[in-house]
C-alpha cells in the first residue's frame, strides 16, 4: 500500500469519534484473530483428532495410527511398529503420548 494512502487512512481513523474508532479497532482485532486461526477453516489430520480424544487412555505408550484409527500400541516404538506391521499396516504414524503428569523437555 502506498505510504500516502496509508497516512490518509490513519488520519481518518484518528479523527473518528470514540464510538466509531472502537468499531474500527474491533474490526481490526477480529481480522487479526481470523488470520491467526486460519479463520476457523483450517485443517486437522484425523490422527490428531484421535490423539486429542484418547491421549489419557494411552498416556506413556507408543501408538501406531493410520487415518485416525489406532492400529497398535506398546511400551516402545519398536513394539508398536512391529504390532502394526503384523496387522499388515505399513507406514503407520508412530508417536509417543507423553504422561499427563509430566512436562516434556522442549530443548535447549
Amino acid at each position: 500500500m502506498e505510504a500516502v494512502l496509508l497516512d490518509e487512512i490513519i488520519e481518518k481513523v484518528v479523527s473518528l469519534n470514540p464510538e466509531d474508532r472502537q468499531k474500527v479497532i474491533r474490526a481490526l482485532q477480529e481480522e487479526e484473530r481470523k488470520t491467526k486461526t486460519n479463520g476457523g477453516k483450517g485443517s486437522v489430520h484425523p490422527n490428531t483428532v484421535w490423539i486429542k480424544e484418547h491421549h489419557a487412555e494411552y498416556a506413556g505408550k507408543h501408538v501406531a495410527l493410520k487415518n485416525g484409527e489406532l492400529i497398535a500400541f506398546g511400551d516402545t516404538i519398536k513394539e508398536a511398529d512391529l504390532k502394526a506391521k503384523e496387522k499388515g499396516v505399513k507406514n503407520a504414524m508412530l508417536t509417543y503420548l507423553f504422561p499427563l503428569d509430566e512436562m516434556p523437555f522442549g530443548g535447549w
Partner: protein, 135 residues
C-alpha cells in the same frame, strides 16, 4: 568391526550455530520447507506457529501440550503431518508453538530422531541418514 550403511547423506553448514537441515512438512496438498536444528535434548519436534498455518492447520485444534525448558515453559499444539528430511519422508506428530513470536524449529527425539538412524561428521559438515526399518 560394526558397520552401518546409510540411504542418504546431506551437507550442512558447519560454520553455523547448530546442525541445521532443510525440513518439509505437508498436509494434504500444502507444504512448506524451512530450516530446523537437530536437538537431541528436545523430546519432540517443535516448529514455529506460522509454518503450521502455512500448510492450512488450525493450530488451536491440535492437542494442547506444554513443554519445559531451562528457563520456563511454553505452550504448543500437536498435529499429525508428513515430515521430510533429506528425502526421508514419514507421517509424524509434531508440535507448533502457540506464541507467534516463537521462531525456533527443532527436530527432536519423538517424531524424528526415533524414526531414523543418523551419523554426524561435524568436521566435514555431513550427515548420514537412514529411515529405521524394523524386520
Amino acid at each position: 568391526m560394526p558397520q552401518l550403511n546409510f540411504e542418504n547423506s546431506a551437507f550442512y553448514d558447519s560454520g553455523r550455530r547448530g546442525i541445521t537441515l532443510d525440513v518439509k512438512i505437508q498436509l494434504s496438498n500444502l507444504s512448506v520447507t524451512f530450516e530446523a536444528k537437530i536437538d537431541t535434548g528436545a523430546e519432540a519436534c517443535i516448529f514455529a506457529r506460522s509454518l503450521g498455518e502455512r500448510i492450512g492447520l488450525e493450530i488451536e485444534k491440535g492437542e494442547r501440550q506444554r513443554f519445559d525448558t531451562v528457563t520456563g515453559s511454553f505452550l504448543t499444539y500437536g498435529h499429525s503431518v508428513t515430515l521430510t528430511v533429506a528425502e526421508i519422508e514419514f507421517d509424524s506428530y509434531v508440535f507448533f508453538a502457540a506464541d507467534e513470536n516463537f521462531n525456533r524449529n527443532v527436530l527432536g527425539r519423538y517424531g524424528w530422531l526415533n524414526r531414523v538412524i543418523i551419523a554426524i561428521n561435524d568436521y566435514d559438515g555431513k550427515l548420514y541418514l537412514s529411515r529405521y526399518e524394523s524386520e
